[in-house]
């Protein structure tokens, strides 16, 4: 996983109080609604309806609220993952970003420019050059060769044939399909087809890449390859990405931040660590139950204040180190390990703190911690012990 340059590192905030977290967001979404059905407009404004659950809204109005009052910012250069089960509204949400689906209410800005106010030509401009999308079912044109598929976006922009084919060839190489340019999509495997889809999106050199469950249709092994491909691309180019998935492992692996959706609403928004370590409600907790916590949670969250004498002894680890790695260090040293940032000791972890993380316990409640200075009380868990 890459270090996210502009990722906010503030404490987790409640989902309905998402505040602008960066100065220079790529996408800035506020109170966005998408309602399907007759007279959909009235739903977002009607306070007697907005508080209801999705089923109740449908019973009351016959409308389906696919996206409900969603607000978030996508910071420049980050991988922003929207994750949720099918029907949670995540695919609708990503289509709203370029108005492939017209939002019902709310505001939506890209680089400070109001997307909802754009006229048709401006909107086309947005789709052509600023945001490109990768689709679950690839959406390749079967009658064109791979090169022509990759060059398709450039062709729409009116780029000349020789130039666009040269650019396309470059992209094909970049996604690891060198030599397959003259094939037809039908002759490629699913993974290769999605690489073509990825190359097509990259070819227009967009500011943002939008992924709509791009790897869901692929086999697990291929999926892993493709995820690494995306991570590699992001590391090389630092391009902003909005990534839709229903696969938690995928979200945790590639996301700098994750917005977890349920019934059209964001139930929790935070870094993978925040979501795993501090689930906002039972739904999220259920969701992350099987996640190997030691792979996600960092020592910053597991540490306790150093006791006298501890601050100067023991191996030093960076605060971002995941618990799994700290376990190794603790096992080797036999004692505690320091968490050091900029030469300053923030705290220490020992076997009790690390085991508490692995066991899913609140380290401060479980371990013999002298005091609880830096603890997060997550409730519920304690009672379960």
């Amino acid at each position: 996983m890459t270090a996210a340059p502009a990722t906010p590192s503030g404490a987790f905030s409640a989902p309905d109080a998402v505040t602008p977290e960066t100065d220079d967001p790529v996408f800035s979404v506020r109170n966005l609604w998408k309602v399907f059905g007759p007279k959909a407009d009235r739903v977002p404004g009607d306070t007697s309806l907005t508080g209801l659950s999705a089923t109740e809204v449908r019973e009351r109005t016959g409308c389906t609220a696919a996206v409900r009052d969603v607000s978030f910012d996508v910071a420049r250069g980050e991988v922003f993952v929207v994750m949720g089960l099918s029907g949670s509204g995540k695919s609708t949400l990503v289509r709203c970003l370029t108005r492939l689906i017209e939002p019902t209410a709310g505001t939506l800005h890209i680089d400070g420019e109001d997307v909802l106010a754009m006229d048709r030509s401006r909107l086309r401009e947005l789709r052509r050059t600023r945001a490109a999308m990768v689709f679950q079912h690839f959406g390749l044109l079967p009658h064109r060769t791979v090169v022509d598929n990759v060059a398709y976006g450039l062709e729409i922009q009116g780029v000349g044939r020789a130039e666009r084919r040269a650019r396309a060839a470059e992209m094909i190489e970049k996604v690891g399909l060198a030599g397959l340019g003259e094939r037809r999509p039908g002759q490629l495997s699913g993974g290769q087809q999605q690489r073509v889809g990825l190359a097509r999106a990259l070819a227009v050199d967009p500011e943002v890449l939008l992924f709509d469950e791009p790897f869901s249709a692929l086999d697990p092994l291929i999926r892993r390859d493709m995820q690494e491909e995306v991570i590699r691309l992001h590391r090389e180019e630092g391009r902003t990405m909005v990534f839709i998935t229903h696969d938690l492992a995928e979200a945790l692996r590639i996301g700098d931040r994750i917005a977890l959706m349920r019934d059209g609403e964001i139930v929790q928004l935070g870094t993978p660590e925040e979501i795993v370590a501090a689930p906002a409600d039972d739904y999220v907790r259920d969701f992350v139950r099987d996640v190997p916590r030691e792979q996600v949670i960092s020592v910053r969250r597991a540490m306790r204040p150093a006791l006298a004498g501890e601050a100067d002894t023991g191996v030093a680890l960076a605060p971002g180190t995941v618990v799994a790695e700290a376990v190794e260090a603790v096992a080797r040293s036999g004692g505690h390990v320091r968490v050091v940032e900029d030469g300053r000791t923030l705290g220490v972890v020992d076997h009790a703190r690390l085991l508490a993380v692995v066991a899913g316990l609140d380290p401060d409640a479980a371990g013999p911690a002298p005091d609880a200075a830096d603890s997060h009380t997550t409730g519920g868990e304690v009672a379960a012990v």
Partner: protein, 715 residues
């Protein structure tokens, strides 16, 4: 000769795709199958709902029975509909019967439509040269039609026989992939063989006439069809507007298209051309629209997400994605054009069809067979060529570079020009006379032998003439007399009840209106005669077709054996079927019925086999795992699950059978078809047109009472 070899590579549909889509002519009509998709449970009520018979006369005790019926079938709309119908009948029938009598269609309800039509015809004949409608509109159409056909004919004659043969062969080769692969060479050989046989049979001149008419008709029909299809594919309003029109056009027998144009343009090329274009355009339009609407939504969305505007999306994504369907539409349009061009010889199209027509009217099978063979070969050649082009689209193989494609095309054109010039210089433009053979003598001898030896007097078996006679006496006559003897209101009620079983009140109303229109035109007995032939042919078709279909679905070698036969049969124009049956059964109603059975059989077999093959394999496996015998598997799983397909087979069967039964008027089938023929030959357009209108009404009626309900619900 390679031409007759049925090509096994020819469209072998993958499972899950409606295979009848691949085939042509008739498949134009069968093509509807795809769009109806899977009819849900159209006639679930049909088995439990009461037949129309016992409910009607209202003897004492009826109300009790009705109540019991109502209690037994509470939630079934069709049964409820029938109940309402029965109650209506209880009131209306006695009233109608007492007012107008109970026998054949009452005179009081008959209106004379023939006289005004004759007057209209007379007026049109008088004013054809002077009225503005003709001067500024219709005459332009007919003049352009004539000059276009003449132009193409002059071009074909200018190319000479070597040039035409070379051009057809090279075109087929290009369509087949322009390489030395099996497909390209086989399609090329089919074309070469076709034209060689045409020359050998001394039919070069009429074949060129037919071909010239075909070229113009196909071009116009494809253009019009594609335009309408584009409109229907892109605009929902157009689709809603055009769809019912196409639906109705598809059930109308080709024969009914001929006369209105004779009324407007007189007998000759313009009438034939315009009737052909209008008959053949719908499949192109339908499939274009289907292709545009069926395009992969992901690809279209990808196109939109990259910022394509509507025009770019149409050109780069929608149309290319619809290409396969459009080519299929073109194939069907071509086959329907051929079918109609041949049939239009009745209204002066000339060419090969005319040769068949005149020979058949003299019952000279030998003379008819030559042009018949030529027509069949042309059909196979055209079908194989377009099918090869379609198959090439599916090929995932890397495309040849554009430059190579163009140089191949240029070389091909040069080759055609060279062949034309060299052939004209060395061998003349006409096919050399010494290279022809006459088959009519030997064929007539053979037919004579057949009539003598197989016609009658074979011990135990009888003979074809005996069968034909017995079929007419024991099946057709009682059926016809029964229908004609039945009270008119009984038939109306039966039509309503049948339509209600699978359809809605609107369907029932349409069916009744169509039948009543027949009566009002004064063609009640004649139409019932036609109806009796249709019903007899339908029963035979369904018995044979379902049996063969079941066999083909369950026994793979049967399927493999009949598939090429069906392929060829479905390409042949309607008219052709009359030739062999006349040879075997002489003229008469039986001949027409047998031709109809043979014509409708392939579609019924295909739909049945496909329906059975596509039944849920899980259900069949479950039945097998419980030890069901073959018969039990069929009875309990396959046939019930294939019910939508079977209903569709009935619907297609009835439409196709009607088309031939009326053409049977040409070979002594009598009834409505004869009305059309008589009207044409005696210039009594009033008679012909009313007969044509009655055929259309009969077509609508039969389609409505057999239509699987889902095709309506879907809209």
């Amino acid at each position: 000769m390679t031409t007759a070899t049925p090509a096994p590579s020819a469209p072998t549909p993958e499972p899950g795709k409606p295979e009848s889509q691949h085939k042509t002519g008739k498949a134009g009509k069968v093509g509807r199958q795809k769009e109806t998709g899977k009819p849900g449970e159209p006639g679930k009520t049909a088995s439990t709902a009461p037949g129309p018979g016992p409910d009607r006369e209202g003897p004492p005790g009826r109300p009790g029975a009705l109540r019991r019926l109502a209690a037994r079938t509470p939630g079934r709309p069709a049964a409820r509909g029938l109940l309402v119908l029965a109650l209506l009948a209880l009131v209306a029938v006695p009233a109608a019967a007492s007012a107008w009598g109970s026998g054949s269609w009452p005179d009081a309800l008959t209106y004379d439509v023939r006289t005004p039509l004759d007057e209209l015809d007379a007026w049109l004949v008088d004013n054809r040269e002077s009225h503005w409608l003709f001067l500024y509109f219709l005459l332009h159409i007919s003049n352009n039609a004539v000059s276009a056909v003449d132009g193409v004919l002059a071009l074909l004659q200018g190319l000479g026989w070597t040039g035409v043969t070379a051009a057809a062969t090279v075109l087929a080769w290009l369509a087949g992939g322009a390489d030395l692969g099996r497909r390209a060479l086989r399609t090329a050989a089919t074309a070469l063989g076709t034209f060689a046989v045409i020359g050998l049979l001394d039919l070069w001149a009429p074949a060129m006439e037919t071909l010239a008419l075909m070229v113009v008709a196909v071009a116009a029909a494809a253009l019009i069809g594609a335009t309408l299809g584009l409109a229907a594919g892109l605009s929902d309003r157009c689709e809603r507007l055009l769809r019912p029109v196409f639906d109705t056009m598809q059930v109308m027998p080709a024969f009914a298209y001929l006369l209105p144009f004779v009324l407007l343009f007189g007998i000759g090329t313009p009438s034939a051309l315009i009737a052909t274009v209008i008959y053949a355009a719908p499949p192109m339009a339908r499939l274009t629209s289907l292709g545009l609407r069926g395009a992969d939504p992901a690809a279209l969305e990808a196109s939109a997400s990259l910022g394509a505007n509507a025009w770019q999306r149409l050109i780069t994504a929608r149309l290319p994605l619809a290409r396969r369907q459009m080519l299929l539409g073109l194939n069907q349009t071509i086959m329907m054009c051929l079918s109609m061009v041949v049939l239009a010889s009745v209204i002066g199209a000339g060419g090969l069809g005319d040769e068949v027509f005149t020979a058949l009217s003299r019952v000279d099978v030998g003379q008819a067979l030559g042009p018949g063979i030529a027509i069949v070969l042309i059909a196979i050649w055209l079908d194989r060529t377009t099918a090869a082009a379609g198959a090439r689209l599916d090929d995932a193989s890397a495309p040849a570079s554009r430059r190579r494609a163009w140089s191949v095309r240029a070389a091909a054109a040069a080759f055609v020009a060279a062949a034309s010039a060299a052939g004209s210089a060395a061998l003349g433009r006409e096919w050399p006379e010494q290279w022809t053979v006459s088959i009519s003598g030997p064929v007539n001898t053979a037919v004579g032998w057949i009539t003598e030896n197989l016609g009658s007097g074979i011990p135990l078996v009888g003979g074809t003439a005996t069968w034909s006679e017995n079929f007419a006496r024991w099946v057709l006559n009682p059926l016809r007399d029964g229908l004609q003897g039945a009270p008119w209101w009984l038939l109306l009620l039966a039509a309503a009840a049948l339509a209600l079983l699978t359809g809605t009140w609107r369907t029932a109303l349409t069916a009744v209106a169509a039948l009543a229109a027949i009566g009002a035109m004064g063609l009640w007995p004649t139409s019932l005669n036609t109806l009796s032939q249709v019903l007899a042919a339908l029963v035979v078709t369904l018995l044979l077709g379902v049996a063969i279909g079941v066999l083909a679905a369950r026994v793979s070698w049967v399927d493999r054996a009949i598939r090429p036969v069906l392929d060829v049969m479905q390409t042949m124009p309607q008219f052709i079927y009359l030739i062999p049956v006349v040879a075997l059964f002489n003229v008469g109603r039986t001949a027409a019925i047998i031709a109809a059975v043979v014509y409708a059989l392939p579609a019924v077999v295909r739909i049945t086999a496909q329906g059975i093959r596509e039944t849920d394999p899980g259900a069949l496996e479950a039945a097998r795992s419980m030890g069901a015998s073959t018969g039990q598997q069929l009875r309990h799983v396959q046939l019930p699950l294939a019910r939508p397909a079977l209903l569709l087979a009935v619907n297609q069967g009835v439409v196709l059978v009607l088309a031939i039964v009326v053409i049977g008027g040409l070979v002594g089938g009598g009834a409505l078809g004869y009305g059309v023929v008589y009207g044409l030959q005696k210039s009594e357009l009033g008679i012909g047109l009313t007969a044509g209108a009655a055929i259309v009404c009969l077509g609508v009626l039969l389609d409505r009472i057999t239509q699987p309900a889902a095709s309506r619900d879907r809209r």
